[in-house]
């Protein structure tokens, strides 16, 4: 099989961009992908017999842009790994990617971010309680409309006027348990959403 210098250059550029955009995939998978796409291009270009600059150009066009192709690989890889071996980091990675391409994904990411933020706040409050015993905790605060609001305070400011602390030292075990429960719940919500609703976009 003889390929002109121009065609070889076009193939090399395509594969180089593809490899660059496959960031996030393991090197082994990335090598496999590039090798397979290279094989496909050569196979397709030689379908009519001789490999010509036109047949190479046509094979590359039919594959779509290397950026789009890489994006599908990365999305499919995340989705598959999240299904096989779920980990919080993998689910978060999947959610960030999903959020960039879908409103549903964005909503799930927003809920997850809220869940992790709340969990982090409770955990931090529990850990700061021994350092700020008088001020850190869950406080019931009177508001101007004869109403009450609940406030989680880390204890860096002075105690709120007319406020009442609700849990005392119980904030430490309850806060930590609540934070752990919320992390688990948020993680499983993200994982369930990814598995249930995320379908990679495909041209058909």
């Amino acid at each position: 099989m003889t390929i002109s210098a121009d065609s070889q250059l076009a193939i090399d550029v395509y594969l180089k961009v593809l490899r660059k955009r496959l960031r996030g995939l393991s090197e082994q998978v990335s090598n496999e992908v590039v090798k397979e796409i290279h094989s496909h291009i050569l196979e397709k270009a030689a379908l009519e017999g001789e490999v010509t600059p036109d047949s190479v150009a046509s094979a590359l066009t039919d594959l779509g842009s290397p950026e789009e192709l890489a994006s599908q690989y990365v999305t499919d890889d995340l989705l598959a790994r999240a299904q096989v071996t779920p980990s919080p980091w993998l689910v978060l990675q999947s959610l960030f990617r999903w959020a960039g391409i879908s409103i549903v994904g964005f909503s799930v990411l927003a809920f997850s971010a809220l869940g992790y933020f709340l969990a982090g706040s409770f955990a931090l409050c529990a850990m700061l309680k021994p350092i700020h015993p008088q001020t850190a905790g869950l406080w019931l605060l009177p508001s101007p409309e004869n109403d009450y609001s609940v406030s989680l305070r880390l204890g860096f400011a002075s105690p709120p006027a007319h406020g009442r602390e609700l849990l005392g030292w119980w904030i430490v075990p309850i806060g930590l348990a609540f934070a752990m429960g919320l992390v688990l719940l948020t993680f499983h919500f993200g994982l369930w959403s990814v598995r249930k609703f995320w379908r990679p976009a495909r041209g058909a």
Binding site: E32, S39, D76, A204
Partner: protein, 124 residues
Amino acid sequence: MTKKLPVDPDGAEKWEVQLRKGSLELAVLASLWDGRLYGLEILRRLENDSDLVVAEGTVYPLLTRLKVLGLVESEWVESDSGHPRKYYWLTSPGRQRALEMARIWRRFSASLSDLLAPLGKEKR
């Protein structure tokens, strides 16, 4: 009052595209039912046997995903054409999944056919 959106004249075509996208995984698994094929052969099989013309770049990422999920296995084989080809075949769980999906597809298709039977007939 709810504002009505104008009827999309391409609505049926768009629905068909979504339907085809949704059936791609089953179609790829089914194409491997009789034995091992490499990427381009799978694409030809889909085109010739199912009228499912897919963008070429979509099948390869899907095959990689199916492999991670353990539904297909692959192997590089040297060919006469001068470059190696990556052949895919169904694993045992892959065959099981293909059977299950085919069963669900047939059941759904049959029940929908009953519902669709009156469509196109004249109203008495």
